[in-house]
Symmetry: C2
Subunit: 387 residues, 2 copies
């Protein structure tokens, strides 16, 4: 088991009606709130009105229109409002994109230069406004971690900023807010959660036994409840387990004692940076291709362990068990109605080499991934799931 520092101070308020706590809890930090949200679905569901009702004694400013794969231009707008209005607290109502943008605004407010600088050099993060979140899509885990992924439409970069000051102060996780999610978003979100778990599970350290068992528990939760949540959108048990699983999947619990660099996320970030596709969809396409590419005599034991412990595969031979586990994974994504080829989402072979080079350049794929990959490997993985 590797050495590890673990400290997750976010206050999670989980369950029905937890939003009521916001008046009191936000009040501890001040009166001026920047409400950050996305395309306006919160107006249709009534959540927007609920926020105003709960925060009736606060002074609310707004930053609407945060896009999926949130852009640095939105962050710049938010920083401007915070500086100009003397905002005390940022309230992110939405999914990972809205929360990520809010985190970046929170630290950008205390930096004099362009916020994009902080993505390139995290030492520029020295202070941040408190960020409260109300989660409406479970996928990224951003509600309980210190990371934010921001896209730069000018440079075609999609990069992460990560700093302990960026843990949300408090996150309202009310599973009933997921009842109105379209099936396609439930599917993509589930794929994102699963990929987060894989990134941490498929690492060389075998001594972190408890962590590996936790990852398997989280994977079983996704495989059990993903399909149920799609068929029965208001199934509380399914929504609540997926919601908590999304936070768990990326709050460092599943990498405790393990570590290592990620593989599929950096490869996918290029797809959404270049083609603006849904992150979870890109992950679902790439994951089986990546698994098959890295399956070898060194990795087969871990893949077999996955197949046996998560899918109850009964098969003595590790390689055969591993292949079966990968097939089951691929079949699961397909059963959620997710695309399985890059061509399904409008990506052709014209920019594969460019994206592969970028994926390697902006990540630790070549130095710290489970199986180290260079640009030619990444390009081949892209190619293997092209048509």
């Amino acid at each position: 088991m590797n050495d590890y520092a673990f400290c997750v101070p976010t206050d999670i308020r989980f369950g029905r009606g937890q939003i009521e706590c916001l008046d009191k809890e936000i009040g501890k930090y001040g009166r001026k709130v920047l409400l950050v949200y996305g395309g306006g679905s919160i107006k249709k569901t009534g959540l927007y009105d609920k926020v105003y009702e709960v925060l009736k004694d606060h002074e609310i400013y707004e930053l609407p229109g945060i896009e999926p794969n949130p852009k640095i231009t939105s962050v710049r707008k938010g920083v401007e409002i915070c500086k100009e209005k003397g905002i005390d607290v940022i309230l992110a109502v939405g999914g990972g994109s809205v929360i990520d943008a809010s985190k970046h605004i929170a630290c950008g407010t205390f930096y004099d230069g362009d916020p994009w600088d902080m993505v390139l050099d995290r030492s520029l993060v020295t202070k941040a406004l408190p960020v409260f979140t109300v989660l409406t899509i479970c996928a990224t885990g951003s509600e309980m971690n210190p990371g934010a992924v921001i896209s730069n439409e000018m440079t075609k970069e999609k990069l992460e900023i990560n700093h302990p000051l960026l843990y949300p102060t408090l996150s309202v996780c009310d599973p009933t807010y997921l009842f109105t999610l379209p099936a396609s978003q439930t599917a993509a979100g589930t794929a994102d959660i699963i990929s987060h778990i894989f990134e941490q599970y498929f690492q060389p350290n075998d001594g972190a036994y408890l962590t590996d068992r936790f990852s398997e528990a989280a994977l079983k939760t996704c495989f059990k409840y993903g399909p149920i949540a799609m068929k029965e959108p208001d199934n509380y048990e399914a929504r609540s387990n997926l919601m908590w699983c999304s936070s768990i999947a990326l709050n460092h619990l599943l990498t405790f004692g393990k570590g290592g660099g990620w593989s599929v996320h950096p490869m996918e970030h290029e797809l959404s940076a270049f083609y603006d596709i849904t992150h979870g969809v890109g992950l679902a396409i790439l994951t089986p291709a990546w698994m098959r590419y890295i399956l070898n005599d060194d990795t087969k034991k871990r893949f077999a362990m996955y197949a046996k412990n998560v899918w109850d595969v009964i098969e003595e031979d590790d390689l055969k068990a591993a292949v079966k586990g990968i097939e089951l994974t691929e079949g699961f994504f397909k059963s959620l109605g997710l695309p399985s080829r890059l061509s399904d989402v409008g990506i052709d072979d014209s920019r594969l080499a460019e994206m592969a080079a970028e994926a390697v350049r902006t990540s630790t794929l070549k130095t710290r991934a489970y199986v180290k990959l260079d640009a030619s490997d990444v390009e081949q993985i892209y190619r293997n799931c092209l048509y």
Copy 2:
């Protein structure tokens, strides 16, 4: 899944040599440190000298001699030192007893009356000194939770004080410090961890799927590594997994979405309050007797789930699977060399009724336990494991 609030701000520094961080981290809060420890084993192992080496620029006062089942008299002594010397930080070096006493001292320092009052009325906790811990026995999970169990030798009470202000600020969890633990303490500590998991797992809520799978993962960890740690005291993989498991077992993760009152701990607290026996030993004796007593048509499904998921029991009939799971649990405790009858630890039937009445009076056994128990039930459970 029940509603739940989850916030665990303790900074865990896990791994070899993490103690080096204390100079810098404690330094953030001040220079005057109260070093709290137990019977002096830390002097034999060299840890005591190491603390002085790391904290050479600090002003250290000492409260040695914290007993197992820490007593309110020790807490009073600590509070006196803190008030008199203007202590900035408490450093607990030891196991649960030392940490629990330190937490109580931390809040007692800001209370004018007798610290025992705070055990009876937690609203008296309004402020607390930061508590740092260096863990030398893994069992109670006190290093990552806000609880402390304190005994009053005058009133024969053993009660818990629990308050969010009592989370340790930072805990150094270095598995190599467990290498010198005697096998008997490893066994008792493992029994304590297992019992913490059982108290949370055996609750009526079936919708907290992820939490139940996490509990099973933690139980498997104890059953796998407990015996290894006893046979090979310096097995890092075994010690590190048990150490992290002890924190996880009682940091609220395994009760997320479940809740409910505990059963075996309140029954055991009377044994150690009346007879000063080792807590983990008492738990190992009582647990199988409690399981058999509450096994019925309502509970058999959960016991069968435990047997199947943790022990890989293959048995269609739930009742038969449940019985098998209980037998395996009992056999496990015996395999660790733990006593299995109260008479083995010098307890006869003379005070069973009195202890049973106290157990019910000072807990939620009768109102919130998985299977509600009154004093006659508790007395019968004691009696069933007497000889």
